[in-house]
């Protein structure tokens, strides 16, 4: 069964303290891996799409990387405004129209 597992469930960081969020997946023939940011009471905001192992994408303080079994979202020198839930989702060949989401990592960055 295609599955996505995110860890940790929650992460508290001090402002400026860099860290990484993990997304591991069990999907044969990955068609795409997606990172979203979700603020409380709002819809997911698209961050990155990764397609193949070795690929990396960056945006401001965020950098996403992909291997054959997992993806990391690295946060460098986070600020309080980076506080949110970060969702990882994959597409599998069996149903490429469906995003299979993990339950997210809830990140809190305090001053």
């Amino acid at each position: 069964e295609d599955q996505v597992t995110q860890s940790p469930e929650a992460l508290r960081l001090q402002e400026g303290e860099s860290s990484s969020l993990n997304c591991s997946y069990t999907v044969s023939g990955l068609r795409g891996l997606f990172w979203y940011r979700q603020d409380p009471g709002k819809g997911p905001e698209f961050l990155f799409t990764l397609y193949s192992a070795g690929e990396e994408k960056e945006k401001e303080r965020l950098k996403a990387t992909l291997t054959k079994k997992e993806s990391f979202l690295h946060i460098t020198a986070p600020k309080p405004e980076d506080s949110a839930t970060y969702l990882c989702a994959v597409q599998a060949p069996a149903n490429t129209d469906k995003l299979i989401f993990g339950t997210g990592t809830r990140l809190q960055v305090f001053p």
């Binding site: 795409g32 009471g41 819809g43 905001e45 490429t96 129209d97 989401f101």
Partner: protein, 114 residues
């Protein structure tokens, strides 16, 4: 700015009283999706439209229906809401079908069932 719009942002209904949620998009995307997200859970796909072609997920209850009258609009109808249907309902769009297509989400409608 091109975007996905959902109305209303908050909807309160009574147990068993039909309710309709709406979604519109200015991205001119071919595919529109409806997801259900319960508190602290991952979003779960209910169904999607590719143009006018409707695709229902196998485990979506019959209580949930959808309509797409044109490219820009899509509606989610809940025929007889139960307490378990209280959730955030998310509309998303993608340019086309197939692997690797990025889905863009609206702000969501939070449904409360009394």
């Amino acid at each position: 700015d091109a975007m996905v719009i959902q109305n209303p942002r908050y909807q309160v209904t009574q147990f068993g009283k039909p309710v309709t949620l709406s979604c519109s998009q200015t991205l001119n995307h071919n595919v529109m999706y409806w997801y259900q997200q319960k508190s602290s859970q991952a979003p779960k796909l209910l169904f999607h439209y590719y143009d006018k072609d409707f695709n229902n997920e196998a485990d979506t209850p019959d209580n949930f229906q959808s309509r797409r009258p044109n490219t820009s609009f899509c509606f989610l109808d809940i025929r007889s809401p139960g307490l378990g249907d209280a959730a955030m309902y998310l509309c998303a769009t993608s340019r086309d079908k197939g692997g690797g297509q990025t889905q863009y989400f609206g702000p969501g409608t939070r449904l409360l069932v009394l």
